[in-house]
Symmetry: C2
Subunit: 291 residues, 2 copies
DNA sequence: ACTATATCGTGTATGATATACACAGTTCTC
DNA sequence: GAGAACTGTGTATATCATACACGATATAGT
């Protein structure tokens, strides 16, 4: 359902806009380098789409554009997410999008937040902080893995939208079931958040591979080959020993050749780490109780 | 010291290369989306620059190109890192770089690994795993903060080079001072690694701001404003309460207005989390000892 | 109703960017 | 000493984000 409203004019024109312009940083680069102030980006992310009464009704809503962008990133990858692709998917011209977002960066900021979705629902009877944090962590990891392209964007420089805050709120709720003082809760939050986002990289990489039709065996081979270069390299004696002697390899499900114990699945490794982190927090809570 | 070796030809040519080509994905996008197999990228990253005896001596070494790239990213940011910029910095044409790296992605892969540098030196008398892991964690965080642009690249999809392996080796060495079975060491490594890389985001963001001449107060204001939207928003009751009642705000050094206890510095928060993680690991080690 | 005006989607143009290709100069190998 | 292999260069092209102005549209104020 292509939309054609604009008028047709004869091709030959005499416009001569030789005005000097600022540079147009290309695509993802501009996103990556956070061209605008974070402040301005944040405003754009939060401000509602206000509609003036004059003029034709907009044919789209921002959400529509955002959804199209997400669909593209989901279906292909971040590189496929061009302004043209988004517009085409909606049946509009590229430039039409600029009526909704001032630039690609703003669109992506919105898409990222929307793509995060809402955090998991809270279990009806409280389960205790540990179980609830666990649920949160799994959910967050699953969310990241289900949209591997999110990890290709520099979260670092991105403004925080409503969903981002919701995820944090949900984690705070989980932690709320403790005796932590409010000002300490953010610290605990940041441990958990840090661990979860930091340690999901490999799983995300696998998820992306799977999404692109690469088998987990192929993927494991690729990553394994990478690590495998350490073997017999005198610079990496310990790593080398681990990789050869035992089951140190990264494994997706059915793993690399292993001799020693059974190698851990990615998920198992994540679990292991999470439990260590939770233990550490537990210990801290216990020490507070003693006071 | 520009270099001009190539010949001059009259501008009018009769080449007609209308051959069909593959798409030329633009800049960072291609990096982000990991166009090539990880396998191929990994090979490129590790393969030595082999020099055939014929022909003119290359005027550069890969390291030179990589260094120029790093200098640009350090001095400006990732967006400024264009093939043209790198070449210009070396006094060559853009295309000259392609004699050293088949594409930008390969150059960046190399630059990333080189930029990581070597892990910290190992303390002469062993300090015990906990202290050594701490040292490693601080060093890694410091490294990331000193080159904020590293965090703008999707590590997820990147191949692992020599320095990456060295950092891992160093951490394994630190952990080596325990009774962990080899096959469990990777799990412990991944907890620490996950926490450190995941929880450095905010500090990296601050580091980047500082590098761009933004004061830490300005930065804190920007990030704070972001969080501040939660205040009085019914969707975020807990967050809101924390932010208003106490010192939950993110602070660089001299922080946001705080009423309750003193707000944590970013570094203090990192420390706190790290100690929790280390506690958790400690606990695990103790439990192993018992067996 | 009528007109001014703000807004919409469009067509076109531009500058940045990565990179393909062919050439001319350079330096070994045979 | 000739040819082969490689070097840096110049030029061309596709892809992108995005500026700008136009004609169409719909509301506000008269």
């Amino acid at each position: 359902m292509a939309r054609q409203t604009g008028g047709k004019r004869p091709p030959g024109r005499t416009t001569k806009p030789t005005r000097k312009r600022e540079a147009h940083p290309p695509a993802v680069a501009s996103v990556a380098s956070a061209g605008q102030d974070l402040t301005k980006r944040s405003e754009l992310l939060w401000e509602a789409q206000l509609r003036s009464s004059r003029g034709p009704k907009p044919a789209l809503r921002r959400e529509d554009v955002v959804q199209a962008a997400i669909d593209i990133a989901d279906g292909e990858d971040l590189a496929a997410l061009t302004m043209h692709a988004v517009a085409a998917k909606l049946g509009f011209t590229t430039m039409a999008l600029y009526r909704y977002f001032p630039n690609k960066e703003a669109l992506i900021d919105s898409a990222v937040d929307a793509a995060m979705g809402a955090p998991p629902h809270r279990p009806e009877p409280r389960q205790g902080w540990r179980e609830e944090v666990r649920r949160w962590a799994y959910a967050k990891r699953a969310m990241l893995c289900s949209r591997p392209w999110l990890a290709e964007l520099p979260f670092v420089a991105a403004p925080h939208g409503p969903n981002w805050l919701s995820w944090h709120e949900a984690l705070l709720w989980a932690i709320g079931d403790t005796r932590l003082r409010p000002e300490d809760m953010m610290d605990v939050l940041s441990v958990i958040h840090g661990y979860v986002s930091g340690s999901s990289d490999t799983a995300i990489s696998l998820a992306r591979a799977l999404a692109r039709g690469i088998s987990s065996e192929q993927w494991a081979r690729a990553v394994g080959a990478d690590l495998g270069r350490a073997i017999n390299d005198p610079r990496y004696p310990i790593l080398s020993a681990i990789l050869t002697s035992a089951s140190g390899g990264i494994s997706s499900t059915a793993p690399l050749p292993a001799r020693g114990g059974r190698p851990r699945t990615l998920d198992e490794s994540f679990d292991f780490g999470l439990e260590r982190v939770l233990d550490g927090i537990q210990l801290h809570l216990d020490s507070l109780k003693g006071l």
